[in-house]
């Protein structure tokens, strides 16, 4: 594999190698390594799977097997700059999450599972985020938003759009 076309940056590889002492097997590094790659690339394309396999001394199929189990990792194209998980499990749904999710879909012009054409937002209808005391709630990248209302949601989308662009 020539360096010029390599997907994983030196920094990413170093971060993965740093995990080696934490686990007695290389297979166990797969999940945290996928998180690191996803952080760098916004998704985990098949080529990254192959490169990770080489790095860990595993077969690409072993990594693909793990990756495909966890709905979190996407392979086809990078996720939006802001990935929104909107909870619609019972505690949130009981307090109006389904209607708010529809509102958010309309605001962003996408359905759950899709990314806006400008690559800004990816929206996902999430099962319980563990924020039930602040229902309805959502997670946007690493930030938690609770006690959502239509107005609050509009403001959040606006401020996320301005800070992410």
């Amino acid at each position: 594999m020539c360096t010029a076309s390599r997907l994983l940056s030196d920094q990413t590889i170093a971060a993965i190698e740093e995990l080696f002492p934490c686990y007695p097997t290389r297979q166990a590094v797969v999940l945290p390594a996928l998180h690191i790659i996803n952080q760098q690339l916004g998704h985990v394309p098949p080529q990254a799977v192959e490169e990770l396999a080489t790095l860990l001394g595993l077969a690409p199929a072993q990594i693909q097997d793990t990756l495909s189990f966890y709905g979190f990792f996407k392979q086809d194209k990078p996720q939006g700059k802001v990935r929104i998980w909107f909870c619609h499990s019972l505690s949130c749904a009981a307090r109006g999450a389904e209607e708010l999710l529809e509102h958010l879909c309309a605001t962003l012009g996408i359905r759950p599972g899709q990314t806006t054409p400008d690559g800004m937002f990816t929206l996902e209808a999430a099962e319980c985020l563990g924020l039930c005391d602040g229902a309805p709630a959502m997670l946007a990248n690493d930030t938690v938003y609770t006690d959502l209302t239509r107005e609050k949601l509009d403001q959040i989308v606006q401020s996320l759009r301005s800070t992410a662009s």
Partner: protein
């Protein structure tokens, strides 16, 4: 930002945890003080630090006596003595199954050459459940101290804390706590000069509920798809990396710390004693965190003795049903436990209370309250969607059963339901899971209980809904085509 405060006057000898901010604090404070409810002689221990400034830092934890229990245990007690103390306390796992913790530890093989692994289950994903998040965000050192003591008792040299992906703040605070603890000598080689060494690592999940099942969690740490293992062998014999392993919940290890600090007599003075007529009942002792969400005035995480009634939790702690409405149903301990009706809310919230009203058990002790306006069809649709989404696909009865239950609920919700569907749903509910013996893990039981309890306890509502929305076809008994997925949103 969410602010947690202790907002009940100290003279009432208790602290509730309220979610509030700004002027809301004063308002909620007043309403609680004026409510004139009877006092209860109970002092928070698990949540004692929550709400104090910088409660997540080592400095704050040390100021409240943190790590003194670890120091004492390492100096005065042998690992076997710690196991004996935990065993004598009858502490039962707080993650859902309620298995006695000391007994679980005692399954580890004697004089094993090692390594022995310890896993802390922080993959809290059960709908309605969020108490571990409160613990890790606001008091990570308490969780860590409990983990270190538990590792000392079990002889584990390495611990993994499995945190779900959706808890980024827990991740940051736990990692910071580990770093601080290591720098201060509470972790690493030769802890506090005792000769005991321990490394603790965080392992981040990737959005799969099944990772909360203990062998699913083990598979996930090993870097594989989180397919639960067939037991036996149990993890204590052959677990993580095929070595003896203990998996305990966050709240369980926090309880371990308090048992060692305050003693078995203290722990057993709280909760519901064992039933003298049932030699297999280990009782329900100790404090418990209850998360209350849904249609209540003050959703939040509260601490109370096991055995407190469901009514008291809702009315006294959570401020009653919102908007002055009547109660319809309560999920007693996370979605998988099923539902109880308004008539059953005097049920004691201990390990056997919810069982007596037909639920799966205490579960995680997190209540979801539903008011009179909420449709049980929506409830069951939401529940079936969750379990169909989270079934790992390994066992056919669960993979197909949860999927077909969802298909039927979709059809019912869209006005194409048949009375016969209710019987088909019950048939699924009665045949999938560990209890009927058709699956490897309990996820299917969790999917079955909401179906069974909702339909058996609210059958009239389901029938009325079906008859009203499908006037032409509700009595149909021949097979009907499944609905297109696009016919119903999400």
């Amino acid at each position: 930002m969410t602010v947690y405060i202790a907002a009940i006057p100290a003279r009432r000898r208790e602290r509730c945890l309220l979610r509030a901010s700004g002027e809301g604090i004063a308002r909620r404070f007043r309403s609680a003080a004026l409510s004139g409810l009877p006092t209860m002689p109970y002092q928070n221990v698990l949540l004692a630090n929550v709400g104090k400034p910088n409660s997540h830092t080592l400095a704050a934890y040390l100021a409240s006596g943190g790590y003194s229990t670890l120091r004492k245990v390492l100096k005065e007690k042998s690992p076997q003595e710690v196991v004996e103390i935990v065993r004598a306390s009858n502490l039962r796992g707080r993650g859902g199954a309620g298995f006695p913790t000391g007994l679980k530890w005692s399954f580890l093989p004697d004089k094993h050459p090692g390594p022995i692994y310890f896993c802390v289950n922080a993959d809290e994903s059960e709908p309605g459940t969020f108490v571990n998040r409160v613990q890790m965000e606001h008091d990570p050192h308490q969780v860590l101290e409990g983990t270190i003591i538990s590792c000392y008792a079990t002889g584990a040299s390495r611990a993994y804390i499995y945190i779900r992906y959706e808890y980024p703040l827990c991740w940051k605070r736990m990692q910071a706590a580990i770093d601080e603890a290591r720098a201060a000598g509470y972790l690493g080689r030769n802890i506090l000069g005792s000769g005991f060494s321990l490394e603790v690592y965080l392992h981040r999940g990737a959005g799969a509920y099944i990772c909360g099942e203990e062998t699913g969690l083990i598979e996930s740490i090993e870097g594989r798809r989180a397919w639960p293992r067939i037991k036996p062998p149990f993890p204590a014999v052959e677990g993580l990396f095929r070595k003896p392993t203990v998996v305990n919940n966050v709240e369980t290890v926090a309880c371990v710390k308090h048992i060692l600090e305050r003693g078995v007599a203290w722990f057993k003075s709280i909760g519901t004693p064992a039933d003298p007529n049932d030699p297999r009942d280990p009782g329900s002792y100790g404090p418990k965190l209850f998360g209350i969400s849904g249609h209540v005035n003050r959703p939040g995480c509260y601490e109370a003795p096991l055995g407190i009634s469901c009514r008291e939790l809702i009315e006294r702690f959570a401020g009653g049903v919102w908007k002055g409405r009547k109660l319809k149903a309560v999920v007693p301990g996370g979605l998988s436990t099923g539902v109880i009706t308004a008539e059953e809310i005097d049920t004691p919230m201990d390990f056997s209370g919810p069982l007596r009203v037909g639920c799966l058990g205490l579960g995680t002790g997190c209540l979801i309250v539903l008011d009179e306006t909420y449709s049980m069809v929506d409830f069951l649709y939401n529940s079936c969607r969750f379990f169909a989404h989270e079934s790992c696909g390994q066992c056919t009865p669960c993979r197909e059963g949860t999927h077909w239950a969802l298909q039927m609920l979709r059809r019912i919700k869209a006005g194409r339901g048949r009375i016969k569907d209710l019987d088909l749903l019950l048939e699924i509910g009665d045949t999938i899971g560990i209890l009927p013996g058709t699956t490897i893990c309990g996820l299917a039981d969790g999917a079955a209980w909401p179906i069974k309890t909702a339909i058996r306890k609210f059958r009239q509502e389901f029938e009325d809904y079906i008859k009203h929305t499908n006037v032409a076809g509700w009595m149909e008994t021949q097979p009907v085509p499944a609905l297109e997925q696009s016919a119903v949103a999400h």
